[in-house]
């Protein structure tokens, strides 16, 4: 048998090494999986990881799409990383994302068809506010009553989905939509459309926000006292109290900021790539962002890179569906495996593994 010995400190080497190891193992087991499905594993892996970036036919389109997919993932994952560092488990980002989109779209639709350059900034504020308020519910319950934030935030995802279904069939439904559920398309409403900043680059306002968030959170975590407080609360809750960290403020900060960022992501999505509020508007970014946050080691730069990687598996996965007829589900499986292998290889960062000796 093997024995684990807890390291006094996380191994820096393994923290950075294990994501790469996990990606490698995932590729190998993915290859085996594709071979089992009767596909050429090298071709499948190439289509998923190489073609979206370098294929002469697709790359010009899929490289920008990479940013479109990575933007919301990074934005949400950065928010989550604050909480995860402090031991505050917000797994309801999906719900906060939905609320942000609903708030943002509601502002736009309230002004429709007026054109004004103030509408879009107002939508940004509304989107962040929507997510923030939705994140505030588990935050306050946790801070005041010590209610389990994992369960509350998760339950609120399903409440948010019901609200989404309700508004797409009622309040926000497109009056010219022939009864089909869904709001007006914001892409066709100039003042509310989240357009590409540079044409055909995929770089819309949400992606820009995601990049800025990466930089700002890097500064907060490394240079600012709040960053220190967060890390301390996560690593040594008792010590943090002595250090004068206000636990309530800390929880509210973590959940509030992740709610606001998820809400922003939802707002940018509904006014950009998606264009409208529909029953199935949310596509799991809030949950996938949890993988992104872990894969990125809860570090802003890491999250930036892992967001791009996960986006690549989405785009490449769609390509594989089209080119090889691989079922879309294989990509879900792929992402799940990636997370599993990462969690497994994390062992090396936290523990020393001794084989054989059993004292």
């Amino acid at each position: 048998m093997f024995k684990l010995e807890k390291r006094p400190q996380q191994s820096q080497k393994w923290i950075y090494l294990s994501p790469f190891l996990a990606v490698l193992i995932t590729m190998i087991s993915g290859g085996i999986l594709f071979a089992a499905l009767g596909e050429n594993p090298f071709e499948a892996i190439r289509i998923i990881f190489w073609d979206p970036l370098f294929d002469p036919n697709f790359a010009s389109y899929s490289r920008p799409q990479l940013l479109v997919k990575a933007g919301p993932l990074i934005l949400i994952a950065i928010g989550l990383s604050f909480g995860f560092k402090a031991g505050v488990w917000n797994i309801g980002a999906e719900g906060q994302y939905i609320l942000g989109a609903i708030f943002g779209a509601s502002v736009a639709l309230a002004f429709y068809p007026m054109e004004s350059k103030f509408i879009f900034p107002l939508m940004i504020i509304a989107g962040a506010l929507g997510g923030f308020l939705w994140g505030l519910i588990p935050a306050l319950l946790k801070a005041k009553l010590n209610t389990n934030e994992i369960l509350v935030s998760l339950m609120l995802v399903y409440v948010a989905e019901s609200i989404l279904a309700s508004v797409s069939q009622g309040l926000l439904k497109n009056p010219d939509g022939y009864g089909f559920p869904g709001s007006r398309n914001l892409q066709n409403y100039e003042s509310a459309a989240n357009v590409e900043i540079i044409a055909n680059s995929g770089m819309h306002w949400g992606v820009l926000f995601a990049f800025i968030t990466v930089i700002v959170s890097y500064i907060i975590l490394t240079k600012h006292i709040q960053g220190f407080n967060i890390q301390l609360t996560g690593q040594a809750p008792r010590a943090s109290k002595f250090a004068g960290v206000n636990p309530t403020a800390n929880i509210v900060f973590c959940l509030g900021i992740s709610g606001a960022l998820a809400g922003l992501a939802g707002m940018f999505e509904v006014s950009g790539p998606s264009g409208q509020i529909t029953i199935e508007f949310n596509s799991g970014y809030g949950f996938t962002a949890i993988i992104v946050a872990f894969l990125g080691r809860l570090h802003p730069i890491g999250i930036f890179l892992s967001g791009l990687l996960i986006a690549l598996t989405y785009i490449g996965g769609e390509l594989a569906q089209l080119m090889l007829g691989l079922p879309g589900a294989s990509i879900q499986l792929f992402q799940g495996m990636l997370l599993f292998f990462l969690l497994a290889t994390d062992l090396f960062a936290n523990y020393k593994v001794k084989i054989g000796a059993d004292n």
Binding site: N40, E43, R46, W50, D51, F54, D55, P56, N57, F58, Y61, S62, Q65, A165, Q169, Y178, G179, F180, P181, G182, N185, Q187, E269, P273, S274, G275, Q276, T278, I279, E280, F281, S283, I315, E318, L319, Q321, L322, M323, L324, G328
Partner: protein, 356 residues
């Protein structure tokens, strides 16, 4: 950069790309359900297979199933176009705006959107007059129900679905003045669990006929389990539930249309059109009426089918009043296509409201 693309090209040429070079025309299909739904998507895929068989090596087809209606569908269409598709069929109402958006970016690619109403120079629309088949179903339902309660599983309250409800109801009432329709909306095209629950709920309410405007066979299975309930195949024959509960069906036959449109692209004669065909041209088929239906009812149903096919009879022929009692069609008057395409009201006698 150059070396990279040479390498990539070399690798690619070993794979599927090799096959792509051989065909003259590449046709893409975007599906909302799985090809194995034995309903809506299944029939579109049968159409795709017919295209492959008809043209052989001259045409290559690609498809993607279970594509959500929204931002993802736009990317799927774009990737198909980039992959070299010359003609793309998008087969669900919710793909309407994405189709128009992508078509703008690829003026040389032809698009065909099913059941929608937005067209462009390179976007055609096509649909079938399913309501003609619904009239025959309504007739059989009205004759066969013993409880005088007919259940109807609606997907979305869009004109196409409302039209089907009206057509079935008018013809059920014609032969059975006591018949009532119980309508349940489930807001999905394809969700077997929800469809089964809806069918079960309707059966428990006393409905002994269940009509569906959703794509799976789950309501058929629920009816079979309950026993003594009749259903109709929707979009596809659903023949595995013969002779009971499935007593007949509406079959969407897209093959002739898909072949004709692919031919038009091959010949360079493709133009943007609006097609709405029914039983006559063969786009709507009526599946075998089984032995569970009495011979006289079957004969009447077939007579109605012939009358509709020849154009002698229009399922929406006055006098028909709207739900509120106001006159819609005077005696002998038939509905115009414009009204039918935007139909958002029930006819007189149906209870409840079209969800707004």
């Amino acid at each position: 950069m150059y070396i990279k693309s040479v390498i990539a090209g070399a690798i690619a040429s070993l794979g599927v790309a090799a096959a792509a070079l051989a065909a003259d025309v590449k046709v893409g299909f975007v599906y909302v359900g799985p090809v194995g739904d034995y309903g809506w998507t299944y029939e579109h895929d049968q159409g795709r297979l017919a295209v492959e068989e008809h043209f052989g090596d001259r045409v290559e087809t690609v498809y993607q199933e279970l594509v959500p209606e929204g931002a993802d569908s736009e990317r799927v269409m774009t990737q198909m176009a980039l992959q070299g598709a010359d003609l793309i069929f998008t087969t669900s109402f919710g793909y309407m705006e994405p189709t128009i958006n992508v078509a703008k970016k690829f003026p040389d690619v032809k698009f065909e959107h099913a059941t929608g109403y937005m067209r462009a120079d390179n976007v055609s629309t096509y649909s079938a007059r399913f309501y003609e088949g619904r009239a025959i179903q309504g007739h059989i339902a009205g004759k066969m129900t013993k409880t005088n309660k007919v259940g109807y599983i609606g997907s979305f309250p869009i004109p196409e679905v409302v039209r089907g409800i009206n057509s079935a109801f008018i013809h059920a009432r014609k032969v059975n003045p006591d018949v009532e329709f119980n309508i349940v909306w489930i807001y999905t095209w394809f969700d077997p669990a929800k469809e089964a629950d809806a069918a079960t709920a309707l059966i428990e309410q006393g409905c002994d006929v269940v009509l569906q405007h959703t794509d799976s066979t789950a309501p058929q299975a629920a009816a079979e389990k309950a026993g003594g309930v009749i259903t109709f195949g929707q979009a596809s024959d659903m023949a595995m539930f013969k002779p009971m509960p499935r007593v007949s069906s509406i079959i969407d036959d897209w093959a002739p249309y898909y072949i004709a449109r692919t031919q038009a692209v091959l010949d360079g004669t493709w133009t943007s059109t609006d097609t709405w065909d029914g039983i006559g041209p063969g786009m709507v088929g009526i599946g075998e009426i089984t032995s569970a239906v009495p011979a006289d009812v079957k004969a009447e149903a077939l007579a109605m089918k012939d009358a509709i096919a020849s154009g002698d009879y229009h399922p929406f022929t006055g006098p028909i009043n709207k739900q509120d009692g106001s006159v819609w069609l005077a005696a002998g008057e038939t509905a115009d296509d414009g009204t039918l395409l935007g139909m958002n009201f029930y006819v007189e006698g149906i209870k409840g409201d079209v969800p707004q």
